[in-house]
């Protein structure tokens, strides 16, 4: 067997390993109740901010808490140990990576989608007539 062949076999093996590791490392999009079934395990929840509920940022502890609704409409308190993201109120969708505890979902990372972010729609005020 040629050395190149060995190299190609190693390449394929590494490729398969990379695929497997992606699937192992990948988290899944879940609802809050599913995350709670495996409290402590990391998940990604996509949801929306409950704009009616309390939102509280305590700068001295650097703790931000809010209430989120997941895509199935389950409502949970979320705690985020980071400064309150800029313009959080305006977020349209929130991607929360973190884990469930018995009192709240602890988000380690938050990604927000704002309605206007890279918004390409033309919002010309058309009240003129």
């Amino acid at each position: 067997m040629k050395k190149t062949h060995i190299a190609v076999i190693v390449l394929i093996a590494l490729g398969i390993a990379a695929i497997l590791s992606t699937f192992t490392d990948a988290s899944t999009y879940v609802s809050f109740p599913l995350a709670e079934k495996n409290a402590g395990k990391q998940f990604t929840v996509i949801g929306y901010l409950d704009k009616e509920a309390d939102m509280n940022y305590m700068p001295e502890r650097n703790q931000f808490s809010f209430t989120a609704l997941d895509k199935e409409g389950n409502e949970r308190k979320v705690i985020y140990f980071q400064p309150k993201p800029q313009d959080f109120e305006r977020s349209e969708e929130i991607t929360m990576k973190g884990f469930a505890t018995d009192t709240a979902f602890v988000a380690e990372q938050i990604l927000m989608k704002c309605p206007s972010k890279y918004n390409e729609s033309t919002e010309v005020d058309n009240t003129y007539n």
Partner: protein
């Protein structure tokens, strides 16, 4: 209807140029194809003429768009969306590529410019290569057509009037022939303030020139197969490939520099899908360039050379699909809006995948195969291993980045199939929680291997190297790199074995290539391109490693929360206070407003050794109040030769909140929605809504109709020691006027006010406030020290210089 003051001519002209560019590209493709088939010169004449007209038409599109932008013709959607009257010249120029249509146009433009040069230089390859080259132009220009073909949208035109957009057709404002004099048409939305940065002027053009530059190597490789001249294409293709390596690499690094300088990602590389999408083709391109070199000098790996050259171009198309189809929406901070062109982008991608790999498969039987095995101690063998490593590295990045695409495929193809058999659906995958850790765990070993290979491969000769002599030559660099590693790892306290190994290999890459250039090439500049580019790459890796491994978050929250909690990475600063932060003392001196930016002045001090403080420098991180994107924090960095001090504001009270605090002395607003009997907890107090009643003294009826109303909420407030207080905020209605009467509980420093009354469910909304007149203003900041990050930037420059030298040498040899 005839509308007044519209500049419809320029839009029609622009659109005409788009159609002309499309048609001429098509004619050029066909006539070049016939020229390729027949070798008749009249076809060449026709093809060249159409390509020249095509080039003029593309310039016409760019020109028309600029006439519209510079003339502020806000009746055009693209102009209204991306420009405004107040922008300076250089931003008006960059308005063109803010939108998707414009960035396609930029790509087309550069591809045409390169194409004109390519056409003149291609010589005997012209017929075949230009057939493909022009066909790519056909596809790209079709992205700007903006027409419907049997109900399918083909392209998106930048020459559409706002009134032609489907959402505005038939609206009342269009009944007025003079609708353009309305205030909303006097100015556009402008260039997103976040992008108003000099990087916006230089980064996209470099990147799109990089996109365009991957086409010449691709068309050369395809032409080589079509014409069965499997080896001859390498010589003319190499300088183009090196050029592409340089430009695309520069574009990527500029993106990193932009992110580091002006965006608060907290570093220069975040493994964001958009960054990955463009890094990957560069990796395969570098691999392809090296395989082309091996093939040219020694032969034997034609197949892999073709594959990597094809894949590079196809990955550029794939990354275009990823970033423009909206598929990355949930996983990237740069989300792009779907223009509804996915089908077209996919068609384009699959067309070239099938064409390229179909051709390769068909020619498989004629490709010369290597008969002998590579020797272990030969340059070609280790270069091949290097190219394989780059391939697998790019595969790993692509695969994880493609998670959203995998989801689409499972949802669209696999799940319907599974459910028909009664099996459960495959769950939707999300990107790894710790994306950076996931990529680093794979890419660090690859980088380690690559830097090591870069170090010794040049010392090997093609075909055969005497092992003993090789060892003597390389020994010095090995020893020096090892000594430096021990020294630096000790000085910096490196404990991670992988980091230490990487420190060694990147030092080895730098030292060995310097040695090779000085000793073997005797400092000759003519042949030094490769060595110098490799020194640059080694320095980039070294800088990235040290800056990341040794980075130190110095902003710590002195309040203990929990060990290793991210909350500890931010410092809370009150106005005027001086706090210790790492080896510095910092003080927030004040805030000022410049345009959209709230700029915070942060002074950094060093202890002068006698108990006093000495001011070192001031950083001015700011928050941009960006209407289009929300508020964005932008960092401020102090650059020293050996380290950067990077800081950005992670929280500042919104201006309205602060203004309210200043005016009333109350803050920490909270909402409570309550029915009678409900209780709430606010700021360590129990708040109970005992009853709601109309105050008879302040309510007045006339003919049975209420004229004045005073709704009072009777609240009981209980503090932690059980003391009870009462509060009675009121909701007053006099005619059409609503007045909200506040109620203050002095003893506990609380204030209550009505917000709203909901007669449907009998609930009231109340707002609670706390006395904050004693509280100082504060901000929360994060500060990080990146040591030796300048090595990375230095490496970039050296790598670019080295590549330019290599291109020059290749051109001389041709």
């Amino acid at each position: 209807m005839q509308y007044l003051n519209e500049h419809t001519f320029i839009g029609a002209l622009g659109h005409f140029f788009v159609v002309l560019a499309f048609v001429t590209a098509l004619i050029a493709t066909l006539s070049y194809y016939f020229y390729h088939k027949s070798d008749e010169l009249q076809w060449r004449k026709m093809a060249r003429t159409s390509f020249y007209i095509h080039a003029l038409a593309v310039l016409g599109i760019v020109g028309s768009l600029y006439v519209m932008i510079f003339g502020h013709y806000f009746e055009y959607q693209y102009v209204w969306q991306h420009s405004s009257v107040d922008l300076p010249l250089y931003y008006l120029i960059s308005c063109m590529w803010e939108g998707q249509e414009g960035s396609f146009l930029l790509w087309i433009f550069f591809q045409v410019i390169l194409g004109l040069l390519f056409m003149r230089k291609a010589g005997k390859w012209e017929a075949t290569t230009m057939t493909l080259y022009a066909s790519v132009q056909v596809f790209l220009v079709s992205m700007l057509l903006g027409t419907y073909f049997f109900g399918t949208k083909i392209g998106s035109s930048p020459f559409i009037l706002i009134r032609q957009l489907p959402e505005y057709v038939g609206l009342p404002f269009l009944q007025n022939p003079d609708y353009l004099s309305a205030p909303q048409f006097q100015n556009g939305r402008g260039l997103n303030p976040l992008l108003q940065n000099y990087w916006m002027v230089i980064h996209p053009p470099t990147l799109f020139l990089g996109f365009a530059s991957t086409l010449p190597p691709f068309v050369f490789a395809m032409a080589a197969l079509w014409r069965k001249k499997y080896d001859e294409w390498l010589k003319p293709a190499l300088p183009w490939t090196y050029f592409s390596v340089m430009i695309l690499g520069t574009g990527i690094l500029m993106g990193g520099a932009w992110a580091y300088e002006a965006l608060s990602f907290g570093g220069f590389w975040a493994w964001d899908p958009v960054e990955n999408a463009i890094l990957v083709p560069w990796l395969t391109l570098v691999g392809a360039a090296h395989l082309m070199l091996i093939q040219k000098n020694k032969g034997g790996n034609l197949m892999s050379t073709f594959v990597l050259t094809f894949i590079t171009f196809l990955l550029i198309l794939y990354s275009t699909f990823l970033t423009r189809s909206g598929v990355l929406g949930d996983s990237s901070v740069h989300a792009f809006v779907d223009l509804g062109l996915n089908g077209q982008l996919l068609l384009y991608l699959f067309f070239y995948i099938i064409l390229a790999f179909g051709t390769l498969f068909y020619h498989w039987r004629w490709l010369p195969k290597a008969t002998t095995d590579d020797r272990l101690w030969s340059r070609e063998f280790w270069m091949f291993i290097g190219a394989l490593t780059l391939t697998i590295s790019s595969f790993q990045v692509t695969f994880t980045t493609s998670i959203p695409v995998i989801n689409k495929v499972t949802a669209g193809l696999l799940n319907p199939f599974l459910t028909t058999f009664g099996w459960s659906e495959v769950a939707e995958l999300a990107p790894p929680i710790d994306v950076i850790e996931h990529y680093n765990s794979w890419q660090l070993p690859f980088a380690l291997l690559i830097t090591f290979l870069i170090g010794f491969t040049q010392f090997l000769k093609y075909k055969k190297t005497e092992f003993g002599k090789f060892l003597t030559n390389i020994g010095m660099s090995l020893g020096l790199a090892l000594a430096l590693t021990v020294l630096l790892a000790y000085a910096w306290g490196f404990s991670n074995a992988l980091y230490t190994a990487m420190l060694f290999t990147s030092l080895f890459a730098v030292v060995a290539n310097t040695d090779y250039w000085m000793r073997i090439l005797k400092g000759n500049l003519d042949y030094a391109g490769a060595s110098i580019a490799h020194i640059g790459f080694g320095l980039i890796m070294l800088g990235a490693l040290v800056a990341n491994a040794q980075k130190e978050v110095i902003s710590e929250n002195p309040t203990y929360i929990a060990k290793d909690f991210p909350a500890n990475e931010n410092i809370l600063m009150e106005l005027g206070d001086t706090m210790q932060m790492g080896s510095y003392y910092v003080s927030w001196k004040g805030e000022r407003k410049e345009g959209l930016n709230r700029i915070f002045e942060i002074d950094y001090y060093k202890s002068d050794g006698t108990g006093g403080l000495e001011k070192e420098f001031t950083l001015e991180p700011f928050i941009q109040l960006n209407e289009q994107m929300g508020n964005v924090a932008e960092p401020s960095t102090k650059h020293f030769l050996t380290r950067d001090i990077y800081s950005h504001i992670t929280y500042a009270e919104p201006e309205e909140v602060r203004a309210e605090k200043m005016a009333t002395g109350y803050g920490r607003e909270a909402d409570m929605e309550m029915a009678i009997g409900d209780s709430a907890i606010y700021n360590r107090h129990f708040v109970i809504l005992d009853s709601l009643a109309l105050d008879p003294n302040r309510s007045r009826y006339e003919d049975g109709q209420p004229m004045n109303l005073a709704l009072v909420a009777f609240l009981t407030v209980i503090n932690v020691s059980g003391e009870r207080f009462s509060a009675q905020p009121a909701y007053l209605v006099e005619g059409n006027e609503v007045t909200l009467e506040e109620s203050i509980v002095e003893a506990s420093g609380l204030k209550f006010r009505f917000d709203d009354v909901n007669p449907d469910n009998g609930k009231v909304k109340l707002k609670a406030f706390t006395d904050v007149s004693e509280e100082k203003e504060f901000i929360v900041m994060k500060a990080v020290i990146f040591p030796y990050i300048n090595l990375l930037w230095l490496g970039c420059i050296i790598m670019i210089i080295g590549t330019v030298m290599a291109i020059r040498k290749r051109l001389q040899r041709n």
